[in-house]
Symmetry: C2
Subunit: 461 residues, 2 copies
């Protein structure tokens, strides 16, 4: 098992103190990337810079690629320009484009002319894709073989070209126009007799992604189709690069975290989101946390004021039948809870592709049935208490209100994500918090208008 981050940190510190370059290279080779990230998380950037310079240049990208983003940016500022240029030329192409995107304009202007033309073009192409697109997680370090090769020749070609590729387990077959003819797995190349033709081994209709798709879609394809890597095509259908399974796992983890935070009424950040490898809850500042939470809290204040307005409208009824107040939190809460359940299920189903927009009507009918059952179950649970606290009339008002509120709340929760997705907004914006406050307000109005109907208008005082 690899060392703990604490043990690793101690060894890194010892190597730095004794300037033991060979020892350090050994530690970096053996250590797992995530542990390096953990071990160095709280070091000053200048010390991490010194550590990086102590390493022989070919080992530096290994260490650099797994630092936290903030740390990477800070470390770059401490390095001499030659070392920065050398590091850039050695970084994996997707990481390189990521780092480049975060540089300010003067730093970019200083760096670009110093790079070789190939790297320069690669950086500019990949850095042009927006943050959440497939292009932003695409690497151009993929290995190709020619369609005319035999399996044995292809293996030899891989041996020559592989050392700096991110994966060689899937090889890409392109035509002269860089269009994708097919893919062949290293497994098939190794297992096939050496004189088999690549043409006969390759998959001719591989799954692919377009560079401008949302990155979550590429990650989902990799999961659904059990892929190790997915080819990425540009606007002209030329191959831009590949997305590898490890990046896909990180994307899905990020997206899931975002969805969970939205259900919990926390606003996930765009960059520097709450992902252990980027922004850690443990290390987030008070202000970062405040910013993630204040948006929904204040928005929901105004949502809750809607409920207050509903109450104000029926103030005389409430004053006349004060026993109604006892059930107010219950009835409001139940509509909101049922609505947030329905919204959560629907947002998740839309996100995983289980449900698509045209299933809408069918889902609506079933949601109505489910919500009615739920409403009846809950009405039964509270009718006894209604009877004890307010007599048969209050029990009736509370039970009828409960059924209606749960049904209406559920339907709101179910429809809102669909509606947002039709309007081309992210359905996840509609998840629990928003639905809760709408369903709450509707609940107040239903409850108190049913009370007026059953109990009669209050007498003027």
């Amino acid at each position: 098992m690899p060392m703990t981050p604490a043990a690793l940190e101690a060894r890194l510190a010892a190597s730095l103190r004794s300037e033991d370059a060979r020892g350090l290279a050994g530690v970096i080779d053996e250590a797992a990337p995530y542990d390096v990230f953990e071990a160095l998380r709280e070091w000053p950037s200048a010390s991490v810079g010194d550590l990086l310079l102590l390493l022989p240049p070919p080992k530096r990208p290994l260490l650099f690629a797994y630092l936290q983003e903030d740390m990477q940016d800070a470390v770059l500022l401490t390095l001499p320009r030659d070392a920065v240029v050398d590091l850039f030329e050695r970084l994996p192409s997707d990481d390189r484009a990521d780092v480049f995107k975060r540089l300010d304009e003067p730093s970019r202007a200083k760096l670009l002319p110093a790079l070789a033309q190939v790297e320069r073009e690669d950086i500019l192409r990949l850095a042009a894709y927006p943050e959440e697109s497939v292009g932003s997680i695409t690497t151009s370090d993929y290995a190709t073989v020619s369609v005319a090769m035999l399996a044995g020749e292809a293996l030899d070609a891989v041996r020559v070209s592989a050392p700096d590729k991110e994966t060689i387990y899937v090889l890409y077959v392109l035509d002269e126009g860089r269009r994708l003819l097919g893919t062949v797995s290293l497994r098939d190349l190794v297992l096939a007799p050496p004189h088999t033709r690549v043409e006969d081994l390759m998959h001719r209709e591989p799954v692919f992604a377009q560079a401008d798709w949302p990155r979550a879609r590429a990650a989902g394809l990799i999961r659904h189709y059990d892929l190790l890597a997915l080819p990425v095509l540009g606007a002209d259908n030329q191959v831009v690069g590949i997305v590898t399974v490890d990046d896909a796992m990180r994307v899905e983890q990020d997206e899931a975290t975002d969805d969970i935070l939205r259900v919990g009424a926390v606003q996930p950040g765009g960059r520097g989101r709450l992902d252990p490898a980027r922004l850690s809850l443990r290390h987030a500042s008070v202000f970062q946390l405040f910013r993630m939470r204040v948006f929904w809290l204040v928005l929901l204040v105004f949502g809750n004021l809607l409920s207050g307005a509903g109450i104000a409208y029926y103030e005389d009824t409430v004053a006349a039948y004060i026993a109604l107040v006892f059930f107010l939190p219950l009835l409001i809460g139940s509509g909101g809870n049922a609505g947030s359940q329905a919204a959560t299920l629907m947002v998740r189903a839309l996100a995983t592709g289980d449900v698509v927009a045209r299933d809408w009507v069918r889902m609506l009918g079933r949601e109505f049935l489910v919500a009615s059952l739920l409403g009846v179950a809950m009405a039964v649970a509270v009718s006894g208490i209604g009877f004890v606290r307010g007599g048969p009339e209050i029990a009736g008002v509370v039970s009828i209100s409960m059924v209606l509120i749960v049904v209406v709340g559920s339907l709101i929760g179910m429809c809102l994500p669909f509606l947002l997705s039709k309007l081309r907004f992210d359905p996840a914006t509609a998840s629990a918090p928003l639905v809760t406050s709408i369903a709450d307000a509707v609940g107040v109005i239903l409850y108190l208008s049913i009370a007026v109907l059953v109990l009669g208008e209050p007498q003027p005082a």
Copy 2:
């Protein structure tokens, strides 16, 4: 790009009608597993059984492994016993153990004696691990090489043993006692000169999992360390098998879905959970949906009654100052919202390992600061409305209550997951819904007791 599920379904149906075994085998070879699953999802099990029997036996596991669980179980009942035995011997070892676990006792008793001894032992060993453990997603179809081999010999050995292994991209080096000496990647074997010794190529301290760990932990290791497969050790430190990256991705997707549902007050099922590859929201029955949702809804009814009880205790105050009711949903809701935010952040951070139990005190201090800032921001947002609707005294009561309620709600939300995790419960049980109802009740009591303090005891009517 692969065919759509609809086109695939049409081709499968056509092959079945014309009994075109070769055509069918071609379709199955080309099709992506997930599409097969989609295409056959609504077929009667007898037709899927016929389709399976039409395939040559070596192709059958390919089709079978990607059917929905319910479908697999139903199809098995339609097959002749010989075909079942043959299928079992050909299935990947983790899928085989999964299917076996779902059989009833008589079916197991009929099947087991017919299997070869090796398969029998493998099934019994893997099926013994509980549902959510690493062992339950472990496959014993891994490839080994000997420590004494040269790279070229190891490649030859892989060529002989590979065709039925789940992955050959990571090879395992074991000693005579089946203990793990190290791992070597196919990449290194292919790239190394053929006379390099495996001993010099292998990683000696590979990351591993224990079979009785929770499966999410193995999936997390695969993500953190960018692995394609993770070796799994049994109680005696012998190698039991491996977990592959595609299974790890499914596990993380499942776990994220569970967490999201819990935040949204939906109870995820144990088996047949809401995962597109298992139970689809689109295909779930009304009763299944009812069962997933009723638990929390009814539980929260009783939570909300706590708030009602708080109101009942202060009924005279409420009756005397009816303007207080206007702000009741707002103040209750805000405590719940702030609490559910804090709980969501903490549960996620505990789940991803970002925060551990001993960070508790440090997190508490910062949460206090963040919540105070949030409370002040929200108090500012509502004080004006308080002034307009109820005058300066009500504005004061509402503002002071808001700050206190947000702070107390947040602290409850933060502490509950820690507390549950210390008591060795799953912290996710404490997420939003439970915290909301506790924070709601505390909010009522704080609000109304502050009102009594500021406005004075109501005069007896």
